[in-house]
Structure formats: structure tokens, C-alpha cells
Subunit: 271 residues, 2 copies
């Protein structure tokens, strides 16, 4: 496939490299920052531009991997030039219909991309959608050249998938951040001591569901320990609120009869 | 060392096996459930009992690894028989002083233990405490025979360590559970698609701090995406509350000037 990359951020860089190594021809890279376009183009051995009007019409697939908030404007600028071309975006939370093209689609690789940390694309599940069955098959075929798992998923289900990814990725990472803050503030224990626990918490999910894997004071509803923890969090009321809500939610998920409106015996949060 | 295990649950089983394989002699296993004591004793090639009065006095270290709520009672029952013996408990959140012995201590291996899933003890950080410097050194020495990292930590700091472990382990796992529920309810997507994201979220922590690794809509304070997510969670107000609190907390942690009492533009939670 002859592919144009619109964008040169973390996702565009990782995706571009994977496509390039799979044998696709990256024709051009666009970024509004010329330096970024140039760096990525040199890796992908292609031309680059920082002007949307100079994006070549001579490619099969256009992958728009820009900031969510810029997506509409960028797509609109390309609308007249890319008639009959397949144009896809890569945003998990944005419907396909934001793209004003007849051949439109979505190619969403679900992973957390950080600068300077290469990822193994083959294990990243990719979710595709397109306006026509032919383009769905095309995107699936391209997807399978870089990833072992490619699913077709419509925009509505993808919104929930993206939301689930926020819980499993962003929010889980924030739990790690709060743990790190607590260690830093008390006893100055290095965060590295948590890594085996975090690794094992993730590894467990290969042999059991997260519900089955749940342990801890909230799971046992050990109010002695929970009340003590809430007292330890007295100087950070926001973290106390998170502790309370998460504990109640763990309890409710393992007790289907639990009413979301029932009052819980955790009282220290008001002290 | 000649060691007696008081308890035959997940922690006692994993710890007993590690000590046994490191060459220590497990003299006896106690469990109030005879069958559990028998099973573990057969693995550790030792005697067993379900009667605290029959616990042998003929050992160097007694490791009490019972439920937190049973710890006081069990310790009291052993008090008169184990004069001058080193008796330690394994509970992260319980002070050493709950033990009514002159030679008391704590040996806390920080990990999540589940039935049927063996763990590599060598990577588990262990935290020790004792009433005398001699016993601290003894516990450190024993700890280093089964783990690469052994820290001395007093009861107060250990409470915060345990609290941090609840955030990094239990609460992170609950984020995975909520993600799994969302996938199950919408589109019936298998939870296994989340594993590469979860693995990468954990793997990142080896090269950057969790604060540096934070990504997602709350980090970018992308209120379009966040408002849409809150709408998707409308039928589960408890999860909506968690989404709101976690997003606000992510925002505050990356913006030190953020006031915990400031109002946030997330309004859908009241809709």
C-alpha cells in the first residue's frame, strides 16, 4: 500500500514505523511542525510537508493521526483534494462520521504511546471501521500486516472500548501515581518496591478475570483496616474520597445484591 | 533456621515453600482447619496440628500468617508457650505491638497471593521489623535467603506502604474490573484485548515514574472526550463518580497549583 501519514506525534511515529517495516510504502509525512515531519520522514524514507495543500493525491490510504481537537479542521482542509481516496483517523473516542469523505474509516490501535519508548505493534489489538465493506476488508488486511489481532468495530462500541481503556490504562496508572505519592511522603520508600506487585497484578489477568483476581481489605470488607487507611489519608481529602468510592465499588461488584445507594460503614471520610 | 508456620492460607503456603526451598527446616504447620494443615505439611515435609496448645516449643522462629482479624486471639493463645521465642506476623497494616511477646517482629512480603498461582519469591520485597536490633538482623538474614530485597521498616511507615499497595494493587485491579464490565455490557468485546495495554502501562514504570507515564483525556484535560465518557456512564452513577474523581485527581497531580476545592468543568455527572 502507498500510505500518507497526516501527523508526526507518538501514535503516527509508532504506526508509521510498523507499516514501514511491514513493507508498505510511506509516501509522505505531514506535520504542522516542519521539524517533526522531517524527523519522521527521514526514518520512513519519504518526503514531508508542513502544508496541508501540499499533501500528495498520489496514495492509497491517508492516515490522519493528529490531536483529537484538530481532527475536524485537518479533515476539512483535505476534503477537496482527496476525493475517492480512503481517509482514516486513529482516535478511539471519535466517530467515523467526523470525516467528510465518501471513503472514510477508522484505524484505532489500542495502546498507550509515549515518546522514546518503542512498542511491539504485533501484540496491539487494532479496531477498524469503514463506510464500505470493501474498505473494511482493506483495513483489516493492512492491519494484519502489523498486528496479530484486528477487529471490526463500529463507532458506538468503540466509544465504550475507549472508555474501558481509560479505566484499564489511565486510571490504573493514576492509582500507581497515588501509591507513589504516598511512598514519597511517608518513609521515603522508593517506588520500585511496588513493581513486583504491579507486575503480578497484571500477570494474574492471563489466568483469571480481574473480578476473580480482586483481593484486599475492601474485598474482605475489613472495616478495621479501611477505617485506619481513611485516617492515614486525612490530610488529603481527595484521595480519601477516591479510597472510599473505590472500596465501595469493589464491595458492590463482588456483591450483586449491593444497592448503589446503600450507606457504607466508612465514616472517617467525614471526620 | 527451625521455623513453625501458624496458618496455611495463600501467604503461609507461598512463604513456607520459599523458606523450605531455601533450605530452612519447617518444623510444624498449624491451621485451625486440619485438612489445610495436612496439605501444606505434606509439601513442607513436616508435622502439623489444628490445636494451638500442640504447637511445638522447639523452633527458632514462629511465623503467624493468619487472617488479620484472628491475629490477636491466636497470638494470645501462644503467649505462655513461646517465651523467649521470636514470633513474627506477616500483616502489612498491623503494628508489631499487637504481638504480646518480648521477642516480637514483623515479616511482611509485599505481594498479592492467589490460590493456585505460584509466585517467584526472589523478586518480592520483604519488610522486617523487630523489638531488638539482633532480631532485625536475624529477620533480614532469613529474608535474604528467599528474596533479593529486604528492608527494615517501622510499623508506622509500613502502614503507609500497605496503603500504597492497596492503591497500586487492589485499586488498579478494580480499574481493570470496571473496564471488563464496560466491555461485557457493550459490544461484548473480550477482555483479553486490554492485556497489551495493561502490560505496557505496567512496563512503562521501569523507565519512567507513573506521573511521567500518565496519558489520556484527563491528563490533556480534553473536556469534549470526558463529557462524552460521563454520558456513556449515565446508567452507572457510581462509575461516573469514580470517573469524575479520578479525572480531577489526575488533573490536580499534574498541576500543582490546582486547588482541591476548585470547581471542575465536568457537569454531566449531575445530569
Amino acid at each position: 500500500m502507498r500510505i500518507v501519514l497526516i501527523g508526526a506525534g507518538n501514535l503516527a511515529t509508532n504506526l508509521g514505523k510498523a507499516l514501514f517495516h511491514a513493507g508498505h510504502e510511506i509516501v509522505q509525512v505531514y506535520s504542522r511542525t516542519e521539524a517533526s515531519a522531517k524527523i519522521l520522514a527521514s526514518v520512513l524514507k519519504c518526503t514531508y510537508t508542513d502544508t496541508l495543500e501540499d499533501v500528495t493525491c498520489n496514495a492509497d490510504i491517508y492516515i490522519v493521526a493528529v490531536k483529537d481537537s484538530a481532527l475536524s479542521d485537518v479533515a476539512e482542509s483535505l476534503q477537496k483534494r482527496l476525493v475517492d481516496k480512503l481517509v482514516v483517523h486513529t482516535a478511539g473516542s471519535i466517530p467515523m462520521d467526523v470525516l467528510p469523505f465518501s471513503r472514510k474509516g477508522v484505524f484505532y490501535p489500542m495502546q498507550t504511546f509515549s515518546k522514546g519508548k518503542e512498542v511491539d505493534f504485533s501484540v496491539i489489538p487494532c479496531f477498524v471501521e469503514a463506510a464500505t465493506e470493501g474498505d473494511v476488508q482493506l483495513l483489516k488486511k493492512v492491519g494484519l500486516t502489523i498486528s496479530d489481532t484486528v477487529y471490526e468495530l463500529n463507532s458506538e462500541s468503540r466509544e465504550y472500548l475507549h472508555l474501558a481503556a481509560v479505566f484499564c490504562g489511565n486510571f490504573a496508572n493514576h492509582c500507581f501515581s497515588l501509591g507513589a505519592q504516598l511512598l514519597k511522603q511517608h518513609g521515603n520508600i522508593p517506588f520500585s518496591v511496588m513493581l513486583p506487585l504491579i507486575d503480578e497484578t497484571a500477570a494474574k489477568l492471563y489466568t483469571m478475570s480481574p473480578c476473580e483476581a480482586q483481593t484486599g481489605p475492601a474485598m474482605r470488607w475489613d472495616t478495621n483496616v479501611m477505617d485506619k487507611h481513611l485516617q492515614l489519608l486525612a490530610s488529603t481529602p481527595d484521595w480519601q474520597k477516591i479510597y472510599n468510592l473505590m472500596s465501595q465499588s469493589i464491595h458492590c461488584l463482588s456483591n450483586p445484591s449491593c444497592s448503589p445507594n446503600s450507606s457504607f460503614p466508612l465514616t472517617s471520610s467525614n471526620s
